[in-house]
Chain length 106, copies 2
């Protein structure tokens, strides 16, 4: 009985909660991750982000992003590939992600 289903506990598109998304994006490190993910536009392993926190903290932040519905994770070998859920976020909260990313870049 393993608990490695953690990559699957992502909300369905219609279950994405606005409060959870805003909270997920309100942390500077997570916002940095999201911006980096957005600029790359390709699935990126968790460890490829230059964040000033430990591995376990990084796992924590990706979990918050995943459970909020901001990020999608899938396994590929030993790595965890992350992608922005642009489509789902845009469908549910049109313009929100871009407004936040623009605000950060601003």
């Amino acid at each position: 009985m393993t608990f490695l289903q953690t990559a699957t506990d992502q909300p369905a598109r219609e279950d994405i909660d606005l409060g959870a998304v805003l909270h997920a994006l309100s942390d500077p490190i997570r916002l940095e991750i999201v911006a980096a993910l957005d600029s790359r536009a390709e699935a990126c392993p968790t460890g490829s982000f230059e964040v000033p926190v430990s591995k376990s903290t990084c796992t924590h932040h990706f979990r918050v992003l995943r459970e909020a519905g901001v990020v999608r994770q899938r396994r590929e070998g030993t790595a965890r590939l992350n992608t922005l859920r642009r489509d789902d976020l845009e469908a549910r909260f049109p313009g929100l992600l871009d407004a936040v990313l623009d605000a950060k870049a601003g």
Copy 2:
């Protein structure tokens, strides 16, 4: 020596922090307040919002909104009149407030 300057500790437009704004908006009660403020489009006393919390908690939420730069407060008699800082938010983070309000309404 009174401490009633609390209504003035609002950030200048250029000091409004994105993380603080997102955090302020990530709470359902505060988001409800902001939406109500937006719909009325007039300065409203703090007590005129139907929120399921106590007076002191309400004060707390308005302080968070004020310190984040989302809301402006001014005294008028015994009341505290609240207004959305639409102009400042729009200047600093274009489209963000509307995206959030649309997301909530959607």
